[in-house]
């Protein structure tokens, strides 16, 4: 039974990372009703921001410490928030009044643009790069089950971020404006909500979360490359749909569910190669029985 518990722990941290990314997909969908496919590349940019920030920050401060790790994460999140807002401003805002499909295709274009620019020799290059150690690492051994300090920190920080996000959306004026825009954009505008500012903020917030998720992802498997965002991006997108797209707790739940499913499927000899297929089979099953996703209602209160 040890291995079952071990798989649960393995899957949990992965699920939390998917949850963080899924929030970004679902928030943007909630407000703009389209899937921001470039989101997974912001995740990659977050990991690369940390890759470049870490040597600089670890040189000045104490080498590998919680303080430097905190600074790296915050700075990378800021950088990616700005990138996210820029993507919205340059690529999506000019198309705001166009059909949804146009924006969707543009999002795919932005995603490919970032991926292939990143692979260019002058930018990051296509090679896998060793991701620096950000935190002192240790392994907690409980009988036959081992837990990495990184995984524990990832899980705790993600839970804090989820709670924080909930507070922002439910308890602040900006959050109220976000909910208003998602509910009815025109009415919100008439009530004096600055739509552009709220949309920018949503992209910034989602991108910051993606950046943090990217760093967490890279901490667990310290080899990063410009295409690293594709897989977690895809899983997080599925997670958002499973949970009910546009629904925040649903995205978190979907992320956890997929992380666990992927891990359990991956640990069975003979099935391990079909873990992606299993994730999508589950997606289809859930959508067959609950077309709006697990927590989604057909007319849900969005974001």
């Amino acid at each position: 039974m040890d291995w079952l518990l071990q798989q649960f722990i393995n899957g949990l941290a992965l699920g939390f990372i998917y949850a963080l990314v899924a929030l970004g997909y679902t928030m943007v969908y909630g407000i703009l009703r389209f899937i921001n496919f470039a989101h997974s590349d912001v995740l990659m940019l977050g990991a690369f921001s940390a890759y470049f920030l870490a040597p600089a920050l670890q040189k000045t401060g104490s080498p590998v410490s919680i303080v430097s790790a905190f600074l790296i994460v915050v700075l990378a999140a800021l950088i990616c928030a700005i990138i996210g807002m820029l993507i919205e401003f340059l690529a999506y805002r000019p198309l705001r009044q166009r059909p949804r499909l146009t924006v969707l295709i543009t999002a795919i274009g932005v995603s490919l643009f970032i991926e292939f620019t990143g692979q260019h020799k002058a930018v990051f290059g296509a090679n896998t790069k060793p991701f620096p150690q950000l935190l002192p690492e240790s392994t907690v051994q409980l009988g036959n089950v081992s837990m990495q300090s990184n995984d524990i920190i990832i899980s705790l920080v993600t839970m804090l971020l989820l709670a924080g996000l909930w507070l922002v959306i439910q308890r602040t004026r900006t959050g109220m404006a976000m909910r208003a825009v998602s509910f009815n954009e025109k009415a919100a505008a008439l009530m004096g909500v600055n739509i552009n500012r709220i949309i920018s903020f949503t992209f910034g917030l989602g991108s910051a979360l993606a950046a943090i998720a990217g760093i967490f992802y890279a901490m667990r498997s310290p080899g990063i490359d410009p295409l690293m965002g594709m897989k977690p991006g895809l899983y997080a997108f599925v997670a958002a749909v499973i949970g009910g797209i546009g629904n925040l707790p649903g995205a978190a739940l979907g992320g956890l569910l997929l992380g666990l499913l992927e891990t359990f499927a991956g640990g069975i000899p003979g099935v391990s190669n079909y873990r992606d297929g299993i994730a999508f089979a589950i997606l289809i099953l859930i959508l067959l029985f609950k077309p709006a996703g697990l927590l989604g209602r057909l007319q849900p209160e969005k974001v």
């Binding site: 040890d2 291995w3 071990q6 798989q7 393995n10 899957g11 992965l14 490919l112 692979q119 020799k121 290059g125 296509a126 090679n127 896998t128 060793p130 392994t139 051994q141 081992s146 990495q148 992802y217 667990r220 498997s221 310290p222 080899g223 490359d225 295409l227 690293m228 897989k231 992927e262 891990t263 359990f264 499927a265 991956g266 640990g267 069975i268 000899p269 003979g270 391990s272 190669n273 873990r275 992606d276």
Partner: protein, 382 residues
């Protein structure tokens, strides 16, 4: 999208230029002999591509410094396939159709050599793969050669190594299902290991480029193997070793020639210490041929120590130059025949004899990662 556009464009170009090539636009040409090379200069297996390319470059320089071949200088045209599927076909089509090369050199990875081989075979252009070990590569046709052993031999030697040196009776195998090399090597290893009385306790798969292997490693650990065999490439291997260490795996881990890269240590750090892998040859191997090559390579590439990929890349050029000299022409069919009859060729990677299957039969070495360096543990004769 662009990739597919390019591909179809090149397909058009390839077909329309075929007639021109046949008419001999490359062969009649100028005062150089054009050789094409396709390599993974960037991407997942970049250190392989770069090493192999550097060895190739050095060999071309040496041949040209010694007066070239048949009084003409060799001209090397290199295309990068970014370690990606699909790009090799495009690159090789371009080299043959547009540049009119008389032979193709490449690649390290079997999957990508398998993409290029049918094109070379179809155009009747000799191709020499420096280090693709999957048997299927040369089975493509009589114009396809390699400068290295195949995985049938490598699998056998690794099976012996696991049984005799590691004293393991129960081995777990962790295969990259995206890679022909990995699947092939796993298959031949299993055959020989089971035939020698060993037991494969569990087999798990991953997709090359995955980042999270903990699920599979937990399952491998639960099966209690005495050793773990990972026939894969270094980027994935490094991440697997890191996560295996985190999960408290203590069984020795070993693999094949896909491991030999400085990035294995750069990414894997202390997690890859003590692991073993087999490869073609080592800079530590005795003999002046090797030491001369190591010295020349260090001089040209800022003190970098050559790995097996560099030595094999070097040998492909020398093999080709030898074949052209012996056939006395750059005619593809004659060069092919000369390559097929290559015997006891004194390469840096060892004595090369091309057998009936157009594979090279050669000794192999086992290396161990020690203090971040690859140390020669054993040399095995076929």
């Amino acid at each position: 999208m662009k990739k597919y556009l390019n591909q179809s464009l090149w397909f058009l170009a390839a077909t329309s230029l075929l007639a021109l090539v046949a008419a001999g636009c490359g062969k009649s040409g100028g005062d150089t002999i054009k050789i094409g090379e396709f390599a993974s200069l960037t991407g997942k297996e970049a250190t392989f591509g770069i090493s192999s390319h550097e060895g190739t470059l050095l060999a071309v320089d040496e041949v040209n410094a010694a007066g070239g071949v048949l009084g003409k200088k060799l001209e090397l045209l290199t295309e990068d396939n970014q370690s990606k599927p699909g790009e090799s076909a495009t690159a090789v089509n371009k080299l043959i159709a547009r540049d009119g090369v008389i032979a193709i050199l490449g690649e390290v990875a079997s999957s990508r050599s398998l993409e290029a081989a049918p094109i070379c075979q179809q155009n009747k252009i000799p191709m020499i793969s420096p280090s693709s070990t999957n048997p299927k590569v040369t089975e493509t046709g009589d114009y396809i050669f390699r400068a290295c052993f195949t995985d049938i031999l490598q699998g056998k030697i690794l099976a012996n190594f696991a049984g005799q040196k590691l004293k393991a009776k129960k081995v777990a195998v962790f295969t990259d299902v995206k890679s022909d090399y990995s699947k092939g090597l796993a298959k031949y290893f299993k055959e020989h290991f089971i035939a020698a009385g060993g037991q494969i306790v569990t087999e798990l798969d991953f997709n090359g480029g995955d980042k999270d292997f903990k699920a599979q490693i937990t399952a491998i650990k639960a099966a209690n193997p005495e050793a773990i065999f990972i026939p894969a490439y270094y980027t994935d291997v490094a991440l697997i070793c890191i996560q295996a260490k985190q999960l408290g795996v203590t069984a020795p881990i070993f693999g094949g020639d896909g491991w030999e890269s400085e990035d294995l240590v750069k990414i894997g750090k202390d997690a890859v210490e003590g692991t073993y892998f087999s490869t073609h040859c080592s800079a530590d191997s005795p003999g002046t041929k090797v030491s001369d090559f190591v010295a020349a390579y260090r001089k040209k590439f800022n003190g970098k120590t050559p790995d097996a990929m560099a030595m094999l890349g070097h040998d492909t050029v020398k093999m080709l130059a030898d074949a052209i000299t012996r056939s006395g022409s750059t005619d593809a069919a004659k060069v092919r025949d000369a390559l097929a009859s290559l015997k006891d060729f004194d390469g840096v990677s060892g004595k090369i004899t091309i057998d009936a299957k157009r594979d090279a039969t050669k000794p192999m070495v086992i290396l161990q990662v020690k203090d971040g360096q690859f140390k020669l543990v054993d040399t095995v004769n076929p």
